[in-house]
Symmetry: C2
Subunit: 259 residues, 2 copies
């Protein structure tokens, strides 16, 4: 059972999961968050199921040792490939973005045509397609891996010619699907939501899975005290964290070794 | 001392180091190569010195256990940040690409103006600049991190509009340096050497550090029998290995866990 007085644990392959923390804080400003970003081994989205499971279980066990009352898998890739392994490895309840995003998309679509974009691993798992089909088998789902978006966003390429060129290559295919709902199946994509919207137009509803999982968490009590852990701390860490979260966490962050 | 009858160990953050194996095989076709690609934790080029040292020492110790007679650090980032740590951790001789590339560049330049492109970590270490200045303090060195090239090449974007746009952004700065010699300070860059040449013209000599380290290895005896290890094996592995090496190694490759 979820202990509401305990901190909520959130893990991600890197700092992208801070977009999920941001959404949790919007709804639950008083929640105590313990965050783990596996920045020494990011990205997860290009790796095999076996390796994503191994890394994710290590992440979740670390959070459990910190005394969290529940764990949120903020990383779409880890949610897609390792939810079962993580749930078996820890005793606290596990929330993840795939179920939340699937529910939101199934509720939002009128045309019963939903698109999903994500990393190669997330898309290869068909986790969103399976999740949505479970809710409504009539919904037609199209999926596309967009492997260049994460490295571009990580490098701060969130506007300008390069990101727009890469996006237009991917979204050309998305447009052909004629969906009315598109799941942004990666923590990084909300940072380029405006660019995606400007290329797709206003007739496509964009689903932010991080926002959706935050909405589905129970009301949490706490003092709004957060703690951040990363497995690597580079000079760019402060800047990247601010990009995803909107404020500085340098003085609240500690480097840990998981292995 | 180097045992010439032992296999030569080569490690890299991923499969890019296969470009170095290719160069070793050109000169020493009979050498037995044991290769380790840390594909579960690639890339190294965005990580801190501390983490690159930890990962590189694990890589080298694994190769030493395989009975290699010497170790080649094929990864520019690991060579730049972890050569000392690796040399202290293993008993066999250690070769690396930074020294080889620096020697070749110092010998090649007439104008005494040399440029270096590489990952964020390699460039941030100034390892090439230090290596070249040691050889000839009169040489002026310019350095530029090109962090988008590795993910683009890994995704097979080795020709077309996107890679040319990204390259032209980086090479605009390189052109302003007016160097006569440019070090390709990353195992991936030889794959886009033709694009770099077509944008820079023929007056700039390009140095392939992998080729240079291969030239500097002693003559090796063996049966040309190779063994490949990776820390993760994704469905894309075969395709990517072929991209870097030119032939299939699927049946000679095994997945290992380092931690």
């Amino acid at each position: 059972m979820l202990r509401r007085d305990r901190p909520i644990g959130v893990f991600d392959s890197g700092l992208g999961g801070l977009t999920v923390v941001k959404e949790i804080k919007k709804i639950n400003p008083q929640a105590d968050v313990v965050y783990l970003g596996d920045t020494a081994r990011i990205p997860y989205g290009t790796r095999s199921k076996q390796v994503v499971e191994e890394f994710s279980v290590q992440d979740a066990k670390f959070l459990e040792k910190q005394g969290v009352g529940a764990i949120v898998i903020a990383c779409n890739t880890a949610s897609a490939l390792a939810t079962q392994a993580v749930s078996q490895a820890v005793k606290v309840p596990v929330y993840e973005v795939i179920t939340a995003g699937s529910q939101a998309a199934a509720a939002a679509t009128h045309s019963l045509r939903v698109g999903v974009i994500g990393t190669r691993a997330t898309i290869g798992s068909h986790a969103y397609a399976i999740g949505i089909k479970d809710l409504n088998p009539k919904i037609i789902i199209h999926e596309l891996a967009c492997p260049l978006l994460v490295p571009l966003i990580e490098e701060g390429e969130t506007k300008g010619e390069i990101i727009n060129l890469v996006l237009s290559k991917y979204l050309k295919q998305v447009k052909q699907w004629r969906v009315d709902t598109l799941i942004l199946g990666c923590t990084h994509y909300p940072l380029i939501e405006r660019l995606i919207r400007s290329q797709l137009g206003n007739n496509v509803r964009l689903i932010n899975s991080g926002e959706e999982v935050a909405k589905r968490l129970p009301k949490l009590t706490g003092k709004g005290k957060d703690k951040y852990f990363v497995t690597d701390m580079t000079p760019r860490f402060i800047k990247t964290a601010r990009l995803f979260l909107g404020y500085d966490i340098g003085d609240k962050t500690e480097r840990v070794k998981l292995t």
